[in-house]
Structures are given as C-alpha cells and as structure tokens.
Symmetry: C2
Subunit: 220 residues, 2 copies
C-alpha cells in the first residue's frame, strides 16, 4: 500500500502518487473523525493509517508518534481561536472575544477538551503563539509575571468546562419520573430552557464569563 488510493482499473504512475495524496490537511480531517469515534484510548497512528487507507509507514513519514499526531490535531483547533484580538482590542473586550471563540472551537471537537487540557505547550508553535499574545494582553492590563498564567488558566478552565456543557443535550436537567422528589430542580430545569437549541448552555456561559471577568478585573 502506498500513500494514494486508486479506483478500480486506475493505473498507478510510477514515482508519483495519484489520487488523494496524504497531506497534513487530510490527516487532520480524518484524525478528528477517528478521535470523536474512538476517543483518546483508541486513537493511534496505526488506527489512523487504517482509517486513511494507507500503510502505517506512509503516515509515519508525517508524524513519528501519537503525541505529534495530537499536536497536529490540537494546532488545527487552536488555530481557529481568535487571539489576535488581544493586539487589537482593549483587554476587557479581548477576553470575551477570545473566550467565546475558544468555546466555539472546542464545542465542535469536545473529545479534544480533556486531551488539550493536559497537553504541555512544548513543541507546539501554534499553541505557544496563542499564549504569547494572550499573555502580552494580560500583562498590558496589569497582571504580573507571577499571576498572569493563573488568570489566563482560570478563564481557560471555565471555557473548557463550558465547551463540554455546550454539547450536553437540551434536556440535561430533565428530572423525569423523579420530579416530585426534587421539586426545586424540576422547576428550575423548566425555567432554564431557552427558546432555541443551545440557549440554556449559552446563558450559563455568558453569566459565568461576565462574573469571572468582573472578579478578575477587580484583582489585576
């Protein structure tokens, strides 16, 4: 097996791959599908090679191990987050833009949340680039070297938790047959329902973001 897939009867021209070449883009796209399907435990270079229809050796030309593969996938998702806002907007606005775009990026790939949360920044230029811009923005707003990462991480933790809540089903607070035993949750669960899919989670996120921001703002 080589790096290409061919239709029946398609001849392979010698020395040059035809059909779907194994590009970083194609690897990331298939890796995200495999990750959502198999989770972290089933996510291996071999399993991805199988999903791509190529020999493991072909994939190893691009990534030498699982960590490199995860960095490739992580960089794709982190690359969708707006962090340039910290260079363009006042801190107070930039925090909101960054947090909302991070929640959106991870809500689209929730399986990546617990993986990203424990991945070291080492070796990822994309992640380091984001943190450098965000750190510059927080430092300019008055945070010190000692507490700047604590402030950034506190926002990130809230955003990652909220990204998971964003993919919870709409009826996550449905007390079902036990409504009579838990009347307060039953009533609040009905009251929390929004007028569109995702409204409940969005309202919780916006309330928490505004609250967390105000508390941080008072502390910088």
């Amino acid at each position: 097996m080589g790096e290409t897939t061919r239709g029946p009867g398609e001849a392979r021209s010698p020395g040059r791959p035809v059909g779907r070449v194994l590009t970083p883009d194609r690897i990331v796209r298939e890796a995200l599908v495999l990750l959502e399907k198999s989770g972290d435990a089933g996510f291996t270079v071999t399993a991805l090679a199988r999903a791509l229809g190529v020999a493991p050796s072909a994939l190893y030309n691009h990534v030498t191990n699982k960590r490199e593969l995860l960095i490739l996938v992580q960089d794709h998702v982190i690359g969708q987050i707006d962090h340039r806002c910290f260079d363009e907007l006042p801190w107070a606005e930039a925090v909101g833009v960054w947090a909302r775009s991070m929640r959106k990026a991870f809500a689209a790939h929730p399986t990546l949340v617990p993986i990203y949360a424990v991945m070291s920044v080492t070796d990822s230029r994309v992640v380091l680039d984001m943190y450098e811009t965000v750190t510059r923005g927080f430092l300019a707003a008055g945070w010190s070297d000692t507490d700047v990462l604590q402030a950034i991480v506190s926002v990130e933790s809230f955003v990652l938790g909220s990204a998971m809540d964003a993919v919870a089903p709409e009826d996550v607070f449905d007390t079902g047959a036990m409504a009579e035993d838990f009347p307060l949750v039953a009533r609040a669960g009905v009251a929390a329902r929004g007028d569109h899919a995702g409204a409940r989670a969005e309202a919780a996120f916006e309330l928490g973001l505004a609250s967390l921001f105000d508390g941080l703002d008072a502390r910088r």
Copy 2:
C-alpha cells in the same frame, strides 16, 4: 462462568456463589479502572464483564445497559462531593466547600469529566439530590428560578475545567526549545511554578473561584 472466581482446586458449592461476589461496590471499582484505561469508547458492559472475570449475563443482572453502568460510576463520584454544606453554611462559604470537593472528586477520575458533563440528571437520585440541595442554597441566596441553574452551571463548568487542569503535568507551560521565540510565556511559566506538585493548578483554581464568586455575588 458464574458470578464468582475460584482458585484452582476450589470446589463450587451448588446454588450459592463463593469467593468474590459481584457487588455494586466491586462493579464500580473495576468500572473506574476500565474507564481510565479504555476511555468512554472502550467502556462497555461486555468489556467490564471481561475485566471482572464474569459472564456478561452475570453483570446484566445488575445493570441493563451502558447508561446504567455510567450512572452507577457517576453516582459513586458525585457521592463524594460535599453538597450538604449548603444546608449548614452561609451561601458564600458553601459555594467554596462544594466547588473544592467537586474539583477533588473529579481530579481523581478525570475520564469521567466529559461523560458527566453531558449526562442528563434523569434517573440518577444521587445527582438529583446534589442539585436539589445546591439549588435550594442558591435560591435562598437570592437567585431566581430563571437564572439559578445558569449560576450553578457556571460554577460547575469552571470546576470541571479546573479538575482537568489539576491533572495536567507540572511542566505544562514549559516552552522548551522555543523559549526565545515566546519570551513572555517562558518567563510567566517559570514564575507560575509552585513549591509543590499541583501548586500551579491550585493557585489558578483559587484565583478563578474567588473571582467567579465575587462576580456572581454581585449579580444575585
């Protein structure tokens, strides 16, 4: 195979299981091990039966499907969280006690975080019991039916994100060979290091918790 495991030469007495009987406790203990090892995707009734050394039919006497199994595991972890504090302490103190004990419980079982985050409360008396007490505490502090779950979820999202950060490696902000290109993160990463394992994550959690609380306190 029955519900018991026997050493070599041990006779099985007819009609009564000997050795390690399949109790809910034993099921939960083994389920937590399997979940950390295999993740959500590899976590099935069949796989757990194999890990327990029993026939799937024996396990099906206790849980009829994967959702029931997850509820059993979830209830074990949620049962370790202090929520009675809302009946015993002022709201301002109770939020902190509840949040800290929830972070600790989930940091011990991080694989459960993304599962719990999207699990409906329906059918779980333990989870509903926690939410009922917490909701009562928040309502008594002045929150309305409409926004009480938003406030609770905003704290929970922050706690779940922080529980994942709590299990990140100590050197999660190590810029490695790229320190020169990202000097602000490199400097802040060194400054953020605590004097004991977990100190960095704990400081971020406490800063975020205090900030989020103050913001919520001003809004109730």
